[in-house]
Symmetry: C2
Subunit: 460 residues, 2 copies
């Protein structure tokens, strides 16, 4: 039985076996308390070890913070406050000790920076434990949301030969010896001799392939790692990060907005219900606005305005922004936060952005100036979702590709989708770590993924 | 409403809107039938278009196989057999046509080889549609199985710096220009200047990192893509394939076997219930043993024998095998199939293999000759799961690493897990595409993943 189950459901006077790692030990006269944890919940199980237990002294000596232990005994009511029960141990097995002299996770608080250097142990701390449980709950909520609605999980590829979206920030994948790649007579790298017979990369998005699948299954979603070789050593960037990308056929930009709103509300609600103790912990220890932010998202209908309206509101604001406001600019974080936090005080969807600041595949509006793009902005958070209706008209898409100087040869199959049974379709992308950060208030993206990959770091 | 829902639940005389792509059209005197599909089910919805509909001639001309259409009308009882209802269209919108002269998916049957060349369209065929629905159901069953049991989905990294398991078959990941990587004064590739400051690869398994997480959360599982740069152009190999890898702390080889058995049974049961029509299709069209195989797995307790017993049974068999049987050999497919199919006639778990044919991390048994490894073999299928109890004793693990000449420097963190709170733990790996093949009877692994990556092929 997991400790979460034991704490919630174990009957008084029943005999149970608990397994976990020692968080704390208190030696008293004639008996000791240990608190053990197995990562299933923030709370530990208190175990009382009586001095009469065989080998008491030897066992207690081994039961230091970090030791792995199995304890069998009687469930009794706890006289302590904040806990329903405790365990009176009848038998204790210590599997592996943790030497207090060398074990890095002693009781004192550690900085997140330090914990990143012991990524193989940091999951045992309260904060990282709570983060990973919330991350798991978010992931489960995402699958459940889409599966309940009949979406197919689209397993789009990690390795891709198309770099039309990458703009030089894609990792190369090769089976060549880097010291000595095969070369043509002219001395160029001979990609025909590499594993895939052509240059290959790590994907930056599963969207184009998700569109393929939406044309067969109507509603699909991707959920998995994507990559960017951007040399940004910041608290907001990872080289390997997870994305969720739903794609819906027979859907326009309004349906896209509806889904995004329903989706966010569902996930926040799910996590509040699945991880109440962890969320309270974050609210108390990390960021005292996370519960209010979650409630705001759950309870309020999102506002919806156009980009053009957003620009007008920003111009009317009389605020001085670092980046001056005029029609055509990309909205900056300061603009987005003003709109969501100060003006609307709730989540906000901005749509129909100028075509020149958006991707080639977004659907051109009738004004010929804007595209059917949308961003979801949330108070305290800023942009959390970006999406669009896709250009389903072959001639318009071909023109846009040409205008933007994109290599069309690799996109023959993407264009084919517009040739055979094309239909209005739309989708969006959500950065999963960004979501977990918003949910938990964790300030550094490296602390919401188990094994962060960043410039000069691929440890563990 | 999706077509699956319409077929199952739409009330007679209700007015509904259906969306999908035309599978077939039959023009009769004064009206036409079209069958439309949206990938939600094997079955299409029959739509009757009356000759009195405005623009009847023009619309019918556009409604060829592959065209995208929205039809609104009245649900009526179907006089045809095999279908509960049909739709009497009152309004029809054709979104995108599909020219019969150029659209590759006409009614006739296509070979799977041909369909692989149009990977962007093949999801629209009956077989690939059924495969992807079953694949999605398998994936959902996997998450549900583990989440119900309190496991955490461990998001282990794709990019790794450790190659201790790869043995030269790992893809390199780099941000260097392959034509001109940075070099040291001596002319070697200067990995310190590459993105991660060291050689980096695509992972072949998330197991080592899953062990990290099991030491914090007790029970975890990975589920995602893994990679192998093996130049094998066969129907059984992919360069990018999905793996499921549960890892359990406080668990031995017997608990591992119990979980594997429960897990397989759960997935097969789930898929039979979630996709009955698709499974019947596979049984009828692809392999007439898939339903019996699934029932065999669901209904029978798995047999359990040791490797040594397996060798004795093979020696007693009086069969002539291509690979001669003696203690110490790796079991070949012919041996595994004889045991599961001919002898036990049900799934079989073989455990405790010779240490010399298994990986360094598997737990050494007291006989010093075998390790606590296990393989699950199934009739018609062969090996479907491989797992082991892991070596949790630091001294034994260090000795094994040395004996097997494995570079230990990169494994400092893996060894640390044995230094601090080590505990018996175990896990297994299941090749996800292999599972989908077994489930569906599909002969080529390239036909059970949406976008296969194989030697010389990374198209779409």
């Amino acid at each position: 039985m997991r400790i979460k189950e034991i704490l919630n459901t174990a009957a008084i006077n029943s005999t149970i076996t608990a397994e976990g790692w020692v968080k704390t030990k208190r030696e008293l006269k004639g008996f000791s308390f240990i608190e053990i944890s197995d990562g299933s919940t923030m709370n530990g199980l208190q175990v009382i070890i009586d001095g009469n237990l065989a080998d008491y002294e030897a066992i207690i000596k081994k039961l230091n913070t970090g030791a792995a232990v199995t304890a069998t005994g009687l469930v009794v009511e706890s006289p302590g406050k904040g806990q329903r029960i405790e365990l009176q141990a009848k038998a204790v097995t210590v599997h592996g000790e943790a030497d207090p002299e060398t074990y890095p996770l002693q009781k004192k608080r550690h900085s997140f920076e330090f914990l990143r250097t012991i990524g193989h142990l940091r999951g045992k701390t309260n904060t990282m434990g709570a983060v990973m449980r919330v991350r798991n709950a978010c992931a489960t909520a995402i699958h459940q949301f889409f599966q309940e609605r009949g979406f197919i999980w689209a397993h789009t590829p990690i390795i891709t030969a198309s770099d039309c979206e990458g703009a030089g920030e894609m990792f190369a994948v090769t089976n060549f010896d880097l010291a000595n790649p095969k070369r043509t007579k002219e001395g160029a790298v001979d990609y025909a001799e590499d594993f895939f017979g052509r240059p290959a990369y790590l994907t930056v998005s599963g969207q184009l392939e998700a569109e393929v699948m939406a044309m067969a299954f109507k509603d699909v979603y991707t959920f998995g790692p994507t990559f960017r070789a951007e040399n940004s050593n910041t608290s907001r960037h990872l080289a390997e990060f997870w994305m969720v990308e739903p794609e819906m056929a027979f859907c326009d930009i309004v349906g896209d907005q509806d889904l995004a709103e329903e989706f966010l509300r569902y996930i926040f609600k799910y996590v509040l219900e699945a991880c109440p103790e962890d969320m309270e912990f974050f609210n108390k220890r990390i960021d005292n606005s996370v519960l209010a932010t979650a409630q705001n998202i759950i309870e309020n209908e999102f506002a919806r305005i156009t980009y053009t309206e957003a620009i007008a509101l920003l111009e009317k604001s009389n605020k001085t922004f670092e980046f001056p406001v005029e029609w055509g600019i990309d909205l900056q974080s300061e603009h987005e936060r003003y709109l969501a936090e100060d003006l609307f005080k709730k989540p906000l969807i901005v749509s129909n952005y100028p075509k020149d600041i958006k991707a080639f595949y977004m659907r051109l509006n009738d004004d010929q100036k804007t595209v059917a793009a949308m961003d979801v902005l949330a108070p305290k958070i800023g942009e959390i979702i970006g999406g669009s209706q896709r250009e389903e008209r072959l001639d318009v898409l071909e023109r846009r590709i040409q205008e933007m100087n994109i290599e069309a040869a690799d996109l023959w199959w993407y264009l084919d989708l517009r040739r055979f049974g094309t239909v209005p379709h739309a989708g969006f992308g959500l950065g999963f770590e960004r979501l977990v950060q918003f949910m938990t208030g964790m300030g550094n993206i490296r602390d919401v993924i188990p094994f962060p990959r960043t410039p000069l770091n691929a440890e563990f």
